[in-house]
Every structure is written in structure tokens, then in C-alpha cells.
């Protein structure tokens, strides 16, 4: 009897185990396929970056032109060569051009170098820059990136995070007070954010640095750099005010308007109305019936915003002379420094792929409706 009685339990257990094992297998399979897909996407993205950064090989000609020009100018300006015969000069010129061309790998076929770039990039062997050096003088791409990462994180990481959550809270607040004068103010100001941050930056510099002279024009800290951490931090904060304001003006009104509209749409769902009708407090309604279902979207926005910091703000950083990643990327493009361009891009691609991969699981954690399909 007991055996008979136990049989359904065992079957049930077996079925549960099978079901669990099937679910795990499905998750693993999904994860593997997802990883493979993302990896292929990264490979394709990096290959395209390598090709675009080199303009399909045309950059080699530009580099060669640069070398010829700089060597010729150097030779002409060097009195040590004055006494040489024309033939000797030409010999020196050709030899120097050959040395520099070889140093940049221009003596090897473009496609060979392309696949080397690919291989090194995918294994995160970022190698050496062709022309750029890090601020502290190293040609390692890793050093160039790592030196610029903290200032970027500091300025844009902190300002974007602060702004992101400020925008969410204000948007929630406005969604509750739809049609109020404050709501109308933000709706009216929303188009202001269409202007780029650097545009605001220039105006802010003109007002607060050039005219009022109360804030610094640019840079990260004063020069000379202050002696102690306290003074350094104060100086840093003073230098952050204008760029943070520029970033804020560039995004805050439009983002608040967008989030507020987003929340408004969710706030008018039937289940929210039902919750209100049941007499739940507005805080409970907001937390459990508005914020909860919108969490995947919020998390996605947050994650992509954080990843976006990696590319920096090239023009804004240039306007404020801020030593960030965006400016380094911009300089790399100007110099046609492919290793730096590829280095930054491949890291961005990996970060993006990892984020997208993890977001799938985060969605499942925060939203019970999300499941791996059968």
C-alpha cells in the first residue's frame, strides 16, 4: 500500500526533477545559444570596426603620406644633412621612411594585419598604439584606456547616475500630478534638451567662467594641482560643476518628460485602476503596480546608460578639456590610430554583449512573466 501510495509521489518527484532538469537544460541551452550569437555579433562588430578604422586599407596610404611628409620636413630642417650630396640625402630620406613604415607595419599586407588585429582584439590583447601615447607616456593601449577611465567614470558616471534617478523620481512625481503647473513647465522645457551637451557647455563657460568668473573654464583640477586630498576634491568639484550642468541640461527635461509619459501610460492600466479602487495607498500602488512592471525597462535604460559611458562624450570633453575616454577615442580617430580605436570598441562590444546577456536573466528575476520558452 505504502508502495502504491508512494508511487505517485515518486512519479511526481521524478516528473518535478525531469521538469527542473528540463528547465535547467533549456536555460543552459538558451544561455549557450545566446552567448554564441552575441560572440558572433561581437566578432562581426570588431571586424567592421577594423575595416572602417582602416578605411578598407586606405588609411595605410594616409599613414604613408604622413611619414613621407614628416620625414622630409625633418630632414630639410636638420642642419646635419646640409653637407650631404643630393644622392646621399635621398638615400637617408628613403631609409628613414622605410624604418618608420616598418615600425607601423606598413611593409606587411593589410589583410594579414587585419586578422592580427582581430585575433588580438578578441583575446583582449590590446597591444600598442601607433601614434598616441597615454597621458603618462606609454604606448600600451591598455594604459591609454585605463588612464582615461576614472575621469570619465567620475564625471559622466556620477552625473548620469544622479540624473537618472533624479529624473525617475521627478517623473513619478509629475505623473501623479499630471496637468499641474510644474508638469506644464517640464513639458514646455522638454525641447530644450534637443541641443547637444557641448552646446550648453559653451554657453555655461561664457556665462560662469568668462563673464562672471566664478567657475573655471575647463580642465579637471586647478593647475598647479592642489597639495592635499581635500583641496584636490574641492577643486575637482568646482571643475565638475559646468560639465555636469551641461549634461543635465542636455537630458533632464526630455528624459523627465519621457519617463513621466511612460509612467502615465502604466498608471492608466486597468490593474492599476483596480488597485486604486481596492483602496490601496498611492505609495503601494506606485511601488507594486506602476514601478514593478516597468522595472525591466528602467533596468535596461540604466544598464545601457552605464555602458554608454564607455564611449564618453568626445565633443563635451573637448569643450571642457576633460581627460576622458571620449576625447581619447576622438584623438585616436584623428590620428587613425587603429589599435586604440579597436581597443575601445572591442571592450565596448564585450561590455554590451555581457550586459545584454545578463539583462535577459535580470528580466526573469524581476518580472515573473518572463520565462525561457519550451
Amino acid at each position: 500500500m505504502a508502495a502504491v501510495a508512494q508511487a505517485p509521489d515518486m512519479n511526481a518527484n521524478v516528473q518535478v526533477k525531469k521538469k527542473n532538469s528540463s528547465a535547467v537544460w533549456r536555460i543552459v541551452r538558451y544561455a549557450l545559444i545566446r552567448l554564441l550569437t552575441l560572440f558572433i555579433t561581437v566578432v562581426a562588430g570588431v571586424f567592421l570596426t577594423v575595416m572602417i578604422a582602416n578605411m578598407g586599407g586606405y588609411v595605410d596610404r594616409i599613414r604613408m603620406g604622413d611619414i613621407q611628409e614628416s620625414v622630409a620636413m625633418g630632414l630639410r630642417g636638420n642642419p646635419a644633412y646640409n653637407a650631404l650630396s643630393a644622392e646621399e640625402r635621398q638615400k637617408r630620406l628613403d631609409a628613414e621612411i622605410a624604418i618608420q613604415a616598418e615600425a607601423q607595419g606598413l611593409n606587411r599586407p593589410f589583410m594579414v594585419r587585419t586578422f592580427e588585429f582581430m585575433q588580438n582584439a578578441m583575446t583582449l590583447n590590446l597591444g600598442r598604439a601607433l601614434k598616441m601615447t597615454s597621458d603618462s607616456g606609454s604606448r600600451q593601449v591598455q594604459a591609454i584606456i585605463l588612464e582615461r577611465l576614472p575621469p570619465t567614470l567620475l564625471l559622466f558616471g556620477s552625473s548620469n547616475l544622479l540624473l537618472f534617478f533624479a529624473e525617475l523620481f521627478v517623473a513619478l512625481y509629475l505623473s501623479r500630478r499630471y496637468g499641474s503647473w510644474l508638469d506644464k513647465v517640464f513639458v514646455t522645457l522638454a525641447p530644450v534638451s534637443t541641443a547637444p551637451a557641448w552646446f550648453f557647455g559653451i554657453f555655461l563657460i561664457l556665462i560662469f567662467a568668462a563673464s562672471l568668473r566664478i567657475l573655471p573654464f575647463d580642465g579637471m583640477v586647478d593647475a598647479p594641482v592642489p597639495n592635499n586630498l581635500w583641496d584636490y576634491s574641492l577643486s575637482l568639484l568646482r571643475h565638475m560643476v559646468l560639465p555636469v550642468m551641461a549634461v543635465a541640461l542636455n537630458s533632464i527635461f526630455l528624459n523627465i518628460y519621457s519617463w513621466r509619459t511612460f509612467f502615465l501610460i502604466y498608471s492608466s492600466e486597468d490593474y492599476v485602476e483596480m488597485a486604486k479602487a481596492k483602496g490601496l495607498t498611492s505609495q503601494d500602488v506606485e511601488r507594486n503596480y506602476v514601478l514593478r512592471p516597468t522595472l525591466p525597462t528602467i533596468i535596461t535604460s540604466l544598464a545601457l546608460m552605464l555602458i554608454g559611458i564607455w564611449t564618453g562624450y568626445p565633443i563635451l570633453e573637448t569643450v571642457f578639456n576633460w581627460p576622458g575616454l571620449g576625447r581619447a577615442f576622438y584623438q585616436a580617430i584623428q590620428f587613425f590610430d587603429t589599435p586604440v580605436i579597436v581597443g575601445q570598441t572591442v571592450i565596448f562590444a564585450y561590455l554590451l554583449a555581457i550586459t545584454v546577456f545578463l539583462l535577459d536573466f535580470v528580466y526573469a528575476l524581476v518580472d515573473p512573466r518572463v520565462r525561457v520558452s519550451q
Binding site: 596610404r61 594616409i62 604613408m64 603620406g65 613621407q68 611628409e69 630639410r76 630642417g77 642642419p79 646635419a80 646640409n82 653637407a83 650631404l84 650630396s85 643630393a86 646621399e88 640625402r89 635621398q90 630620406l93 624604418i99 615600425a103 607601423q104 600598442r128 601615447t133 597621458d135 603618462s136 607616456g137 606609454s138 604606448r139 594604459a143 588612464e147 576614472p150 575621469p151 567614470l153 567620475l154 558616471g157 556620477s158 547616475l161 544622479l162 534617478f165 563657460i205 567662467a209 568668462a210 568668473r213 573654464f217 580642465g219 583640477v221 593647475a223 598647479p224 594641482v225 592642489p226 597639495n227 592635499n228 584636490y232 576634491s233 575637482l236 573637448t318 578639456n321 581627460p323 587613425f336
Partner: protein
């Protein structure tokens, strides 16, 4: 949820702050005032530096008024980076900056500076715009006609360009019409101004003349002018492809040139693009394919050239070609010969040189593969009460005298905040570091030199040289201007047997003349430099005394690094060494106290002063283009190079995949520190077989201890003997701070006269009407700062008389009447030669203090007798 999010936020901000804070060393000394002593101690590990700073207030007795300030006028130099000139000027106006050392070419920015009484500027004249014409043809490979293959059409392009219009319209007056290749601010232009000015008059704007020449020549080439006024060839329009640079005034110049070409019947395909887009087309394409017809070129001289003789070969021949465009140049045999003679200094007197220039100037304009268009001026803005010497060619950034002259007017001390477009752009090392002008300006602040270039004349002046004696064999065109050099012409110069003439990199010993040339050797010149008696009192920044070891190490490295047998061989140094060995004949240390060094050399400059000062291997002062060479700081880099841990040159570091040695920051510091420890342990003397005769074990011990203390205190290995030492390097923050070197031996006012250039102001007066057959007198009044120009500074005042058609009628030298006043007297016979109507007299005044000549014209009417 909120709490979690807030936590994440807080953690991220804290991490960001910490990461950013990690970018700078925790403690750095900022300013050292006269009343403070800043004592710093550090605990040094292999790669980490932990600092403690103790600021001790010390009461100093007020300095007596009679004490002369030594070293730099200012206490502190702060360098930062600003990319945009308009931004820099806004910061100057807001008192956030004192000097912008980058050369600005924007006329609108100049207007802002002009309008602000607190700002001032100084022009530099090293840049110019030109038009490169493709000389291939007469037809390209696909059968299209190339009119620019025809020399007469190329020559006619000169008449087609209204250069004065372009000066006003494209550079807002910041420039000057340019017709010949010689730079208007360089001595050779002044030297041959009497030859050049008539040519400039001859090639002045004349569109109808251009049209006429083009018509004749195009028809001769088989082209026809269609009914709509367009040139056609084989039934197709003659389309000229213009490569027009888009970044600066050359876009307007290119469009103007295109408009003019269209006005005389050509069709123009305007390709307006950036340098990087256009360079492969004109530099690397086959000119016979006809991918381009003209290119808007731009050029720049980073230093003033007193000898511009090579300019013709560089511009009109393929003798120094580096592009396919230049390789296609096809000058006439006569021009080729003249250019080659000038390039190789194949002349025995200044008169012979003048004749060659006279020919080359005429033939160059007839050839016109490059059409010269504009000399453009750029300027560096600064506070009006800031004085600093600025090079005529490259501004303050290229001036060797800037550290010696920078000063707040009438003041001692203070801080100067200087910015440039980009600083810390690459590694600093004394052998082959970053040589961009932005870096070199900073590096010059830390270096002293044996001779310094006069920024206004290009002549060398003695800084650490007591005297120099130059001997040259008879028949060489060399002259002297200043008293610190003696010049003697001799029949023959023998190289003494014990002279060091080469280097055995394996044995690490010098090769003597007797060993290399048992039968003896002669040289074309001998330079004997006597250094000051107090030479050995000079201190490196780390407190070490200058010694013979520095000089001999400098000599050795000159020959060693480019030698394939050297363990530190660097291929990129080989080319320079090979070039040197073509003309170097030896060096000999005559005495060490005082130090006297003889150099035997086949390369001879036009000026005896520059024969000494222009060449590192003639003055032997331990510096290179990129930094000071103290033997001990150089040696730790050399050890790293030999161990293949790092390399002095960019190309070798790339080849080996190691760090490019950077003496002031970054991963190189750990490598240098490691080698310093090793050097201390071994008491290492570089190139010991030779240098142990000049460097004692005690000196080595002291030097390394000093360098270790210096690194402990300052956190870098950069030491010089200059007016400033490197106090702070803030790489990521992008600033560098230098402090006045208190041990610098010279009085601060040693170079005071060079804070301002003595440009001549020239005014011309004379009769408005001249009667033919009667004497006429015209006056040239030369002033400087509203006072008569000192007679001893005037080089010459020349005059030219042109008729109404612009043809030269007569010329001559004006006579000195009184200080600053010169007179051109046209005798009765002279005025008889003048045609009735409008005539013009032009004065050309040249100064010994400033290379750039000045011009002034005066129109008068000639009436018949």
C-alpha cells in the same frame, strides 16, 4: 529597492572618486616662495612612491636691494593645454591665463586681442601658402591635356593671382604677398631683397597678361577656345582637378584660384577636402594618371634658416623628393644645376652665391612648379605686461631664449600660466623623445646650452662659451658678425693624430685619426671652443656638478647608439650617424681646465657663429634636441635599452614591444628606478673602458645618490642645468609646473635686451614732383619706439626706383645723413632717365638686430624739363 539603488549609487560615486584621486600622487609641492623651505621625504619601493611633506616656515632676512637676482625672472611656470585659440583668448581676458604659446592664425581672434588693452601679441612669420602644379604630360595616360606641363602656362599663373587681394580677404591682413621661395623674414630674403623686389614687381597681378600667355600656349598645345569661352581638347572641355584643403585659408585661396582659372576659360573640378583625404592623391598617386592638376600647399619652418640656399632644390627639383608629385618635377638643366650647386654649397664666395641666387630666383619663377602665394603671419597672444622673446619663425614655443627672458614687466618673481595646444604629447627622454614644439618649449625651460640662437636674426650667441676660434680653408664662403667668434682663413687644416675620429663600439674606445687615417687627414674647418673658467661650478638640478664625464659621455653616445656593433644599437639613429660621418673629421679635448675642445669638420656654415652654435657636434654641450644628457641619468636609460626593457626611440620601442623611455612619468619610471638601483649596486660607469678615465668611482657614487634623492623628492628622473626644474607632472590632469632653479649662476638680466624685437619703422618722404634733369632727394626715416634707429644696428638702406609700368629703372644704397635718417640722391643724370608721369621709389631697410627687412614706397611725378 530604493535603498539598494541608493547603495549602488553611493558605491559607484565613491569608486569613481577613488579612481580619480588615484591619478595623482597624494602630495605634491605647488609653489616654493622665498620665505618657505619645503622639505620632502619619501619611502621608495620598486614601483611605488609614498611621500610625506613637511612645510617649515623659515624667517628669511630681507634681501638687500643690491643683490642681483639670478636665474629666471619668474618663480613658477605653470603649463596647461588649451586646444581652441578663441578659448585661450577668453581665458587671457578673464585672467585665467597669461600666455598662449600656440601660434594663432585666426584674424577674428586677433581682432579680439587688438581690442583688449590688457593683451598683446607678437607675430611669427614661418608659414606660407603655395600652389603645387602637376607638371606631367602634356597629356595624361588617358589622353587628357595637362596645361601645367607647359612651363609658360605655369609661369603665367603668377600673373593670374592677385596676392594683395588674398592677403586681405583670406587672412585678414595677417600676411604678405609671396612670389619667391625665400621666406620674407629670413636673412636671405633681406640679403637679396634688391634682386627679389623687381621680380615681385614683374610678376604682380595682371590677369590679361595671364590670359594672353595661356591663349598662345594652349593653342600651341592643340587646344581650342570654344564659342562659350571654354578651352577644349580633342572635343572635350579641359577640366582641371583642384585639390583644395578645407581646414584653413587655403580653401578660399583654392576657390579663388579656381575662379581665376575659370575666368580664363578652364573648367575646374574642385575637390575640397582635408589633408588626410588629399595627401594620398597628390603624394602617392602617379602624376601621369592625372588624378589632380593643382594642390593648395602649405608649409612651415620650425626654425629660422639663415642659409636658405637649399630652398630651390627642395621646391623646383626632385633632388630631395619625398612624394610622387615632387619626383615628377622636371626643371630645366640650368635650374637643376643652379639648385644643386646651392644645395651642396658649391660656391666659394658670397659674390658667387649671390650670382647663383640671382639665377635661381629668375629660373624658379619661370619654372613655377610651385607657385608661391602668401606668407602668412601667426601670433601668440599674451598679457600686455608680460615680456618674452619670440622666434621670428616659430614664436615663443620655438624660441631658445624664452626661459631667459620671460618676465612680468618691471617685476621680479611671480607665476606665469602658459598654455599650448596639447602638452605631454609623448615621452620625454634625452636621446629620441617626443620632439613636438609643444614639448620642446617645456623642455627648453629645463635646459641650458652653450650657445643660444638669436630669435630675431638666427645668429648664435654665447651662453656657456668664453670664446670660439674658427679656422676654415681659403675659398669658403663664411663670414662673422659678432665678437665672440674669431674667423681665420688658412691654406690647410690637418687633423692631429690623437684626434678622436670614430668609435669602436665593441671595445668601447675611441678610434684616433692615426688609427683610421695613418697617412693623415685634412678638414675644411676647425672649431676651437673655450668654455668659461667657472664651468665646473654649474650644477645639475639634482645637485651634481657638471663634469668631464658629461661631455665625454655625450661624445660617446653620439657615435655609439647608431653603430651596429653597439649593444644599444638603434636603427633609427644609424641614419643620423651615417650623415654625420660624411663630414665629421674628429674631436679633440685640448684641456679640461678650462675646458677647450677642438672639432674638425668638413661642413661649413655661412656664419662663423653658427658654425659653432648650430651643430651639437661642434659645441659638444651635453644636450640634444629632446633633452639634457647628464651622464648618470642617461646611463640608467642606456642600461634599460641594453637590457631591452625599454628604448629611447619610438621606432625601437615598437620593434621590441617595450616602453618608449619616459623620464617623467608612467611605466618607464619603474624601469628606470630598477636600473638606478642596479647602477648604485654596481657603481656603474657607462662605456667604462673610455669613461672610467673621466669618471671616478666617487663621482659615480655621488651622482647616483643625488639622482635617487631627486627621484625620491620629485618623483621623476628629469634633470637639466636650465633656469627651471620640473616640480610637478600631472599627466592626466594635463599640467606641468616648473620652479625657478635657485642654483642657476647667471644674473636674470643677462638676456634682457631680447624681450622685444627691434623692428624698424620706416617712413619715406621726398618731393611730390621731380623735374627730369634736376637732382632729387628722398629721405628714409628709420625709428624704433619713436626714437631714431641706432646706426650701429642698421645693416643697410637700399632704394629702388620704378617707372609707371612697374619696371625697375635704377637702384642704389641710401646714404646716412644722421642717426636714423638716410637719403637717396637721384642725380640730374638719373632723373633724366625717368619717364614723365608717375614713378615710385621704394626703400628697403635691413637691421642687424632683426632679420626681417622693411619696405616703404613713395610715389612722385616726373615732369619733363
Amino acid at each position: 529597492m530604493k535603498a539598494r539603488l541608493n547603495s549602488v549609487l553611493a558605491v559607484l560615486i565613491i569608486v569613481s572618486l577613488l579612481l580619480a584621486a588615484c591619478q595623482q600622487e597624494v602630495v605634491k609641492t605647488v609653489t616654493v616662495k622665498e620665505t618657505q623651505v619645503v622639505k620632502e621625504t619619501q619611502i621608495v619601493t620598486d614601483v611605488q612612491v609614498v611621500k610625506e611633506t613637511q612645510v617649515v616656515q623659515v624667517q628669511v632676512t630681507p634681501t638687500p636691494a643690491a643683490v642681483v637676482r639670478r636665474g629666471a625672472w619668474v618663480d613658477t611656470m605653470v603649463f596647461t593645454s588649451i586646444d581652441q585659440s578663441a578659448n585661450a583668448v577668453a581665458q587671457l581676458q578673464a585672467d585665467a591665463l597669461d600666455l598662449y604659446a600656440y601660434l594663432v592664425e585666426d584674424p577674428d581672434v586677433k581682432k579680439t586681442v587688438d581690442a583688449d588693452a590688457n593683451l598683446d601679441y607678437r607675430f611669427s612669420y614661418g608659414s606660407w601658402d603655395s600652389m603645387l602644379l602637376n607638371p606631367s604630360g602634356p597629356t595624361f595616360k588617358d589622353g587628357r591635356l595637362n596645361p601645367f606641363q607647359n612651363q609658360k602656362i605655369r609661369e603665367a599663373m603668377n600673373w593670374m593671382i592677385d596676392r594683395d587681394y588674398l592677403v586681405q580677404e583670406t587672412v585678414g591682413g595677417m600676411g604678405m604677398a609671396k612670389y619667391v621661395i625665400l621666406n620674407t623674414a629670413f636673412p636671405d630674403y633681406a640679403r637679396y631683397a634688391d634682386l627679389i623686389r623687381p621680380l615681385e614687381a614683374k610678376y604682380a597681378y595682371n590677369l590679361e597678361k595671364a590670359r594672353s600667355v595661356v591663349k598662345t600656349e594652349m593653342e600651341a598645345m592643340g587646344a581650342t577656345l570654344s564659342a562659350d569661352g571654354k578651352w577644349t581638347f580633342n572635343g572635350k572641355p579641359v577640366v582641371l582637378i583642384g585639390l583644395i584643403r578645407s581646414e584653413d585659408e587655403r580653401q578660399e585661396i583654392g576657390n579663388y584660384f579656381s575662379d581665376q582659372l575659370e575666368a580664363i576659360g578652364f573648367t575646374v573640378d574642385r575637390q575640397v577636402r582635408t589633408r588626410t583625404e588629399l595627401a594620398p592623391i597628390w603624394q602617392q598617386s602617379d602624376p601621369t594618371e592625372g588624378q589632380w592638376h593643382f594642390y593648395t600647399g602649405g608649409n612651415y619652418y620650425p626654425v629660422m634658416r639663415r642659409n636658405d640656399a637649399s630652398a630651390f632644390a627642395e621646391t623646383y627639383t626632385s633632388l630631395t623628393a619625398s612624394t610622387t608629385a615632387e619626383e615628377a618635377f622636371n626643371p630645366s638643366p640650368e635650374l637643376l644645376q643652379v639648385a644643386q650647386d646651392l644645395l651642396n654649397n658649391n660656391y666659394s664666395s658670397m659674390e658667387e652665391r649671390r650670382e647663383l641666387f640671382a639665377k635661381a630666383l629668375v629660373l624658379g619663377l619661370e619654372n613655377s612648379q610651385y607657385i608661391q602665394v602668401l606668407s602668412t603671419y601667426s601670433f601668440f597672444p599674451r598679457k600686455a605686461n608680460l615680456e618674452v622673446a619670440s622666434d621670428l619663425s616659430s614664436g615663443v614655443g620655438g624660441s631658445a631664449l624664452w626661459p631667459y627672458t620671460i618676465r612680468w614687466k618691471g617685476q621680479e618673481g611671480g607665476v606665469v600660466r602658459s598654455a599650448n595646444s596639447g602638452i605631454l604629447t609623448g615621452p620625454w627622454n634625452p636621446i629620441a623623445g617626443q620632439n613636438w614644439i609643444q614639448e620642446l618649449m617645456l623642455i627648453r625651460g629645463t635646459m641650458d646650452d652653450a650657445a643660444l640662437t638669436d630669435p630675431y636674426t638666427g645668429l648664435n650667441l654665447p651662453q656657456r662659451i668664453e670664446k670660439a676660434d674658427v679656422q676654415v680653408v681659403k675659398g669658403l664662403p663664411i663670414d662673422k658678425t659678432l665678437d665672440w667668434v674669431s674667423l681665420e682663413f688658412v691654406d690647410k687644416i690637418d687633423v692631429p693624430a690623437d684626434t678622436w675620429v670614430d668609435w669602436d663600439a665593441k671595445k668601447q674606445e675611441f678610434i684616433t685619426a692615426a688609427q683610421k687615417w695613418p697617412d693623415g687627414m685634412t678638414a675644411r674647418s676647425k672649431i676651437t671652443v673655450t668654455y668659461p673658467a667657472d664651468l665646473w661650478n654649474i650644477k645639475w638640478h639634482d645637485g651634481s656638478s657638471l663634469s668631464m664625464g658629461d661631455f665625454v659621455t655625450y661624445m660617446v653616445q653620439t657615435f655609439d647608439l647608431g653603430n651596429p656593433d653597439s649593444p644599444a644599437y638603434d636603427e633609427s639613429q644609424a641614419s643620423t650617424l651615417e650623415a654625420l660621418m660624411q663630414h665629421f673629421k674628429g674631436v679633440r679635448i685640448v684641456s679640461t681646465n678650462p675646458l677647450v675642445i677642438e672639432t674638425y669638420e668638413d661642413q661649413v656654415d655661412l656664419d662663423a657663429e653658427n658654425q659653432v652654435g648650430n651643430y651639437f657636434t661642434n659645441r659638444w654641450w651635453p644636450i640634444t634636441n629632446t633633452g639634457p644628457v647628464a651622464w648618470h641619468s642617461f646611463n640608467i636609460g642606456l642600461m634599460a635599452e641594453i637590457n631591452k626593457e625599454a628604448a629611447f626611440s619610438a621606432s625601437k620601442s615598437t620593434e621590441l614591444g617595450v616602453e618608449w623611455l619616459h623620464y617623467i612619468d608612467g611605466p618607464s619610471l619603474a624601469i628606470l628606478k630598477k636600473n638606478l638601483d642596479k647602477a648604485i649596486e654596481e657603481n656603474n660607469i657607462p662605456y667604462a673602458p673610455t669613461l672610467s678615465k673621466f669618471i671616478t668611482a666617487d663621482e659615480a657614487k655621488t651622482r647616483y645618490a643625488n639622482l635617487r634623492n631627486w627621484f625620491t623628492t620629485k618623483g621623476h628622473f628629469w634633470i637639466g642645468t636650465g633656469l627651471f626644474y620640473l616640480e610637478q607632472v600631472n599627466s592626466v590632469e594635463g599640467s606641468v609646473v616648473m620652479q625657478r632653479n635657485p642654483d642657476f649662476p647667471d644674473p636674470a638680466d643677462k638676456w634682457s635686451g631680447f624681450g622685444d624685437a627691434m623692428f624698424i619703422t620706416l617712413d619715406t618722404t621726398g618731393p611730390a614732383k621731380v623735374t627730369a634733369g634736376q637732382e632729387a632727394k628722398f629721405d628714409a626715416v628709420l625709428t624704433y619706439n619713436n626714437a631714431p634707429y641706432p646706426a650701429d644696428k642698421v645693416d643697410s638702406v637700399f632704394f629702388l626706383v620704378y617707372d609707371a609700368a612697374g619696371s625697375l629703372v635704377m637702384n642704389g644704397f641710401a646714404n646716412a645723413v644722421s642717426e636714423g635718417q638716410y637719403q637717396a640722391v637721384l642725380s640730374a643724370e638719373d632723373t633724366k632717365k625717368l619717364a614723365a608721369g608717375a614713378n615710385r621709389i621704394e626703400f628697403i631697410a635691413t637691421s642687424k638686430a632683426v632679420a626681417m627687412p622693411v619696405f616703404s614706397s613713395y610715389e612722385f611725378v616726373v615732369a619733363a624739363q
